[in-house]
Each structure stands twice: as structure tokens, then as C-alpha cells.
Amino acid sequence: MSNAAESRQSSEERLFLSIAVVAVLILGLGYLGLMLALNHREKAPGVPGPTDEAVALTPDHARQLVDFSLTDRTGRTVTRADLAGQFLVVDFLFTSCSLTCPVVNRHMAQIQQLTTNQPDVKLLSLTVDPRDDTTAVLAQYGLKFAADTNRWWLLTGDKSVLYHLIGTSFLNADLDDPFTYMPGNFSHTERIALVDGRGNVRAYFDGLSENVAAAVVTQIGRLRQ
């Protein structure tokens, strides 16, 4: 084989190689693009993905913190007057609840941490099961979430007082399924509520959402403006 033939062959080879490289690149990019698009589509519409902000829902009607007198886990009496002028982040629990409550309270712990330098932000956990959730039981439960006794109150007390507070100030009593039931028929007990310094309920958040803590803190910032 002559040199000229050799060099012609190798330039053909080079051309073929270049085309192959470009083709692989185009295919590769195309595949990557397709994968990205598919990945994006995997999120069902309307279902917030892990990076979406948890939405602040407005109460469906005027709700204000009613007067109450309850007992926190240290045995202290806590009334509405004790909480005046503070932002309150409120959740609902029963300590034998094994599914949603631990998740919601883990998020409450995150909110506690994110607001350590905001002394006017307090956290409030209201039990819906006062027969089981005595102050001693709530004290144990608070330890699980490193709840600060000066900033995060876990309240129990007379069931009529608790339910009057929960039902009037926070949750609707419209559950109608005996297989998803708690006394009082409260729905959306997985929610976290935000109360302003004047006692108005300003927003609800899905307490199970991964980024609910950031959303609550953002909303408090907005209300300060």
C-alpha cells in the first residue's frame, strides 16, 4: 500500500471518527435531556416536590385564640394572657400516635431551632388525648424532641377546655369516618397553625411537608413587616 493511499485512508478514518464522536455527543445530550424531562414529569402536577415551599393556607373563617387555662408538662398553668404579644406556632398531637405526630413534631423542633434568636416566637403543642397525655407523659414526649421548656409548651388539661380551644380557634370538627376518628371529630390534626401577637390565626401549614419549618419562619418574617 502506498503512502498516499495510507494517508487517504487515515483521513477517511479521522472523518468517520469525528462523525462518530459528534453522533455520540448528540445522542448523549439528547438522552440526558430526555431523562431530565422524564424526571421532571414524574412529579404529579399539584403535588409539591421536596424543593417546593410549603404553602401557607388562610383560615376559612375568623379564628382567634380563645381564653383558656391549661397545664404544661412542667406543671405550670398557662393561659391565653401568658402568650399575648407573641407569635405562636401550634400543633396537635396524641403521644400514642405513631404515624403523623412524630413527623410533625420533628418539624416543630426544626422551627424551634430556626427561631432561637426570635424570643417572641413560642411553640405550642395541644394534646387531643388528655386522658393518656398527662404532664408526666408530655414531659417524656418533650424530651424526645429536645423541646425547650421556656419556648415550647406541651399543654394538657381538662378535655372540654382543650377541645373548646382546638375546635374554636384552630380546627374544623367535620370528620365523618369512624375508621379515622378522634373524639371531637377534628380534621387536619396534622396541620401547624400560626397565630400572630394579637391572637389571630393567620395561616395553616401542612405539618407533614418536608419544608414546613422554613415556610413557617418565612411567614413570620412577612407578618413582621
Binding site: T58, P59, D60, H61, A62, R63, Q64, V66, F94, S96, C97, S98, L99, T100, C101, V128, D129, R131, D132, K159, S160, Y163, H164, I166, G167, T168, A173, P178, F179, T180, Y181, M182, P183, G184, R198, G199, N200, V201, R202
Partner: protein, 289 residues
């Protein structure tokens, strides 16, 4: 609401007489939610907090002298305002908007009288229907003449200190009574699933064997029917929250006497088989006047 308005007006009149000497106008800082505004905008109904030194919190209608005071204000708004009181008159002035349309306006007060809803020792347990592990229908009244201890569980419960402990305690208490030759014999244990869809009779029967062995004497497993759970849960303070295949719930164990009256209730999981056996012994020997 009307009555409150009259009472409020009376209080205002009294306060006017007592607090304001002739010609003097007293003013009080106040805060509330606007419930409604009269068509001529000369009156506003406010759900207001206690007005320190003057009156308690209530919902009432106040006159407005200068309709400009209500400019830009609508029902649902949160306001600060001044209540002015003269010898003969009272009115709202100096209205400052705090937040627009905080929410829809309704008066909703949730009242729950736990004492009238929940059953206590001495109360008669209402009858209810269950589907037994053998597929038949059971009623609480079928056990008339026997003391019954019943609790709630579901077979898919994964937690050793919840449902499983209830049935382990039942097994131990049953053993105590079976081996006590002086014990009465009119007693019965009943484990009730609140997961009837999954806990079909055959599921219950094989689960029962784990705790009870082949011998079903004095201990039956059953699943609750929807209407019975609807009726019983509030009375027993029972919480059941189905989420997918799992159930969050609290623990309620109840002992009734041979006539169906509740003699004792064990909340939670801290009670012992000995305590339950004792409660059942006592209930079995209850005699009614």
C-alpha cells in the same frame, strides 16, 4: 347575640352614668374584628376584646358619628379603635385598620362536653355488633351473665408495646383466672380489631392462635362493624386514625359486669395482667340490687 347587645347597652348606660360627669367624654382604646357595617355606615358590629376599665369582650353594635371613620373598613377586618363614652352617648371613632380581611366572619364556638359524651364506671355499655373470628355476628349482649374485658387492636400492628402488649396481657390475665380454682367462671376476654377490612375472620382466627393457642375458652377475637365503632369510639375516648395500611390509635381496655355496666377502664399500656384479672374477678361477682 341580641341579649348581649341589650346587656351591653345597659352596661354602657350604667357606665355613662357612673363614669362620665356632665360634659366629659371618656375614651377607651380597644381592639377587635369587624363583623358587619350598617348600610348607612352609621353603625358597626365589632367582636372586640375586653376593654380594660370598661367592659368585657363581646360582640355588639356601636354607633359611628363620623362615617369617615369607617372609610376603607369592611367586614372581616381587624381593627384598633377608640370607644368614646359621654354622659348620654357612646360611639366608635378613630378606627385604624390592622389587617384587611383577616378571614370570613362567622361566630363559631366549639363546645365539647366530655362528661356527657364519655362513659364512666357505673354506666351501661350500649350494645354493639362485631364480626367474630368464626365469621358470625357477635353482640355485647350475647355475654349477658358474664363479666367481659375487651380491648381494641389490629393484627398488622407492628408495635410490641401497643396492640401486642394488650393481647399478651390478656393471655396472662386469662392464665391467672384459669389456674385460680377459686375464681368465678363467668368471665370472658374479647379482643376487637378496628381494621375489619383486613382482619377477616380467617386472619383473626390464625392471629388468635398465636396468643391463645388452640383453646378458645374464655377468649374470642372479633372485628368491629362501622356503626358500632362510630357509636363506641366517642364514648370510650378511643382514637383510630387509618393511614394507608397503618393505624395510629390509643389504647382503651374496658371491663363490664354481667349486666353490661362498666366497672373499670384501663387507659394506655401501663396496667398489669394481675390488675385486669382482679377487675374481672370483681366484675363477675357484682350483684345488682
Amino acid at each position: 347575640m341580641k341579649a348581649w347587645s341589650y346587656l351591653g347597652a345597659l352596661l354602657l348606660a350604667l357606665a355613662g352614668v357612673v363614669a362620665a360627669p356632665a360634659g366629659e367624654i371618656k375614651t377607651y382604646a380597644a381592639h377587635g374584628l369587624v363583623q358587619g357595617i350598617a348600610d348607612d355606615r352609621r353603625a358597626v358590629t365589632i367582636h372586640h376584646d375586653a376593654i380594660p376599665g370598661y367592659m368585657m369582650g363581646m360582640t355588639m353594635e356601636f354607633p359611628v358619628k363620623d362615617t369617615n371613620d369607617l372609610a376603607g373598613i369592611a367586614a372581616g377586618d381587624e381593627i384598633n379603635f377608640t370607644l368614646a363614652v359621654s354622659e348620654t352617648d357612646s360611639w366608635v371613632q378613630n378606627v385604624r385598620l390592622l389587617a384587611h380581611h383577616v378571614s370570613e366572619v362567622t361566630s363559631n364556638t366549639f363546645v365539647f362536653h366530655s362528661d356527657s359524651v364519655e362513659l364512666h364506671p357505673g354506666d351501661l355499655l350500649p350494645d354493639g355488633t362485631l364480626r367474630s373470628e368464626s365469621g358470625g355476628t357477635l353482640r355485647f349482649s350475647d355475654f349477658h351473665g358474664q363479666a367481659v374485658a375487651f380491648t381494641f387492636f389490629f393484627t398488622r400492628c407492628p408495635l410490641p408495646d401497643y396492640c401486642m402488649r394488650m393481647n399478651r396481657n390478656f393471655a396472662a390475665a386469662r392464665q391467672i383466672l384459669l389456674s385460680d380454682t377459686h375464681a368465678p367462671t363467668n368471665w370472658q376476654f374479647l379482643s376487637i380489631s378496628f381494621d375489619p377490612e383486613f382482619d377477616q375472620p380467617e386472619v383473626l382466627a390464625s392471629y388468635a392462635q398465636l396468643y391463645r393457642g388452640e383453646e378458645s375458652r374464655h377468649w374470642l377475637f372479633a372485628a368491629v362493624f362501622r356503626d358500632t365503632l362510630r357509636d363506641l369510639a366517642p364514648r370510650l375516648d378511643l382514637m383510630v386514625v387509618h393511614q394507608g395500611d397503618a393505624i395510629s390509635h390509643n389504647l382503651r381496655t374496658v371491663v363490664i359486669d354481667p349486666r353490661g355496666r362498666i366497672t373499670s377502664q384501663f387507659d394506655g399500656n401501663a396496667w398489669t395482667p394481675e390488675q385486669l384479672a382482679d377487675a374481672l374477678r370483681q366484675a363477675a361477682q357484682t350483684t345488682h340490687p
